[in-house]
Point group: C2
Chain length 317, copies 2
């Protein structure tokens, strides 16, 4: 049996797994990441753990796939920006280190593009050759599958779908631009929107200055399902923004499906239904015909499966 390793770097840990060709996770592990560590200090424990797992696994390791936040140059796997939580990786190549340590080809990829590769190989993207995935969490990431393949762009930087311009002179974004999608429909933005609505609708108006207890998107979705108007209106507004982003992508790219992934995809129909309802407002009828709006399918292991999938795809395995 042949298998790939998938390594998904987050800000606080790296999730590691061995994945067979059908998407079964054969082994999994987690290594704590200390943001103050050096490049070597971050990667050596990952390599050691991975070697141990491979030693216990029958069959043959084909490749190591790596997902990290940020901009990754596709030729050498250099992280050229955006990996703020693990600054020691900035300007360095994780794929060169882990490839050399494990003795197989290794491939680094932006985590959201990795997630799209995972959905294409093992998840909701299996039935489609043309789709966009947006991952909604603290930020918004994106991945594109075009003509049946993961689309990486000229340097590997494609899929920054959180930075589609939604409002020309809109909210300032971390990227330095204004009006980015991320500022309107990330989990952070959805929580802020909920808080603003809750405060504004308080009666008497004097109470509007009192801070609300901060709640997360999971609680907002629960409240919406329970019929709370503020929560429902928040998801309605988020759904409109997401429909605008998907509509623009569909007009440009003639997609078959739009997938919602990331932590917020647990909202399911509570967010998918308003997106579907508003989507025709934002695209040509011909372009919109038959396009499916779905939640990503890979849940807790999405990072590992995506990292492994993109590496197997690039290896041609």
């Amino acid at each position: 049996m042949e298998y790939a390793a998938g390594v998904d770097f987050g800000g606080t840990s790296a999730k590691i797994g061995l994945v067979d060709r059908s998407g079964v996770v054969l082994q999994r592990a987690e290594v704590v990441m200390d943001p103050r560590e050096t490049y070597e200090g971050l990667l050596r424990p990952v390599a050691d753990r991975l070697r141990g797992m491979v030693g216990r696994q029958e069959g043959r390791l084909l490749t190591v796939g790596i997902g990290t936040p940020g901009f990754i140059d596709k030729r050498r796997g250099l992280i050229i920006g955006g990996c703020v939580n693990l600054p020691a990786l900035q300007g360095r190549s994780v794929q060169e280190y882990l490839g050399a340590e494990l003795g197989v080809p290794a491939f680094s990829e932006n985590d959201a593009t990795s997630a799209a590769a995972g959905e294409l190989a093992f998840g909701a993207g299996r039935r489609f050759s043309h789709f966009a995935l947006i991952t909604i969490g603290t930020a918004i990431g994106g991945g594109l599958v075009l003509d049946g393949k993961v689309y990486r762009g000229s340097r590997g930087l494609a899929g920054e779908l959180g930075h589609l311009c939604m409002v020309p002179e809109g909210l300032w974004c971390n990227c330095g631009s204004r009006g980015c999608f991320e500022q309107y429909a990330s989990a952070t933005a959805i929580v802020r929107l909920y808080d603003e609505k809750a405060r504004k609708r308080q009666d008497p108006p004097e109470a509007q200055t009192s801070p609300q207890p901060a709640i997360g998107t999971r609680e907002i979705v629960e409240r919406a399902r329970g019929g709370e108007a503020i929560a429902r209106d928040t998801l309605e507004e988020a759904g409109q923004w997401i429909a605008q982003a998907f509509g623009t992508l569909m007009n440009a790219l003639d997609l078959q499906a739009c997938l919602v992934g990331g932590g917020f995809s647990q909202a399911g129909e509570a967010i998918l239904e308003p997106i579907r309802r508003h989507l025709p407002d934002h695209c040509w009828p011909q372009v919109g015909r038959g396009v499916q709006v779905l939640a990503a399918e890979l849940a807790n292991d999405a990072g590992i499966l995506g990292a492994a999938a993109q590496a197997m795809e690039r290896l041609g395995a």
Copy 2:
């Protein structure tokens, strides 16, 4: 010598040419289009003229490429919408007719996607594997080249770049959506913007209701070059919109170049300079690095060359 035919359907005429592999137009002709004609009535004169040209041409005809406005299903070449100036072609396939008449494979394509194929084969796109072309005329069309190939999307409908959403509750567009790019930076929109500014800046204000003599984009560009403030401000504003559209596409697709084509590309630096200046406002610095903003190079023969180029590409010739 092997060559392709290129046929470019406009609202009032079809331009026909024979094109060799290096992009030289060996013969050219024009057939008047009467919008009231039937499918057969429109296409028979084109086929007849084309056969005559082929009869006089040494070498071998490989393929017929066709560019038309509208949405063209890539499998059968059916025009499934958007070809309002030649209603008899709606729901029909030009490629099947001309292919059968000429006895070679024929391929229909949206005219702006054709134009991108032409720039890739023979024009400003030759040096790039990843670029977007926007064609600015009465409307805005678009074509994408990704991974070195013309990108058509899942059904052949990709590249509707005139319908990127620029303003969520902006101007209503012909497509039924709001805030489309076309409403802000087409030649029509640029002329309207100039007229509005000219009227608004009239002194005394009472004169603001008097209609201005309508001028075209060519005259606006001339006046901007001559230093007229209203014309300069008009192009500045158009340049901002175009930069917003290109920036969004660059963030999504990691492009190497952004090309401006169509009639308005004659503006040259008068529009390219403001686009370049505003582009960094609308994309990640990493994504923007090294991206070139250029005018399309193919001028009067762009339609013929594009139609021939996309057919040669699809034939694999």
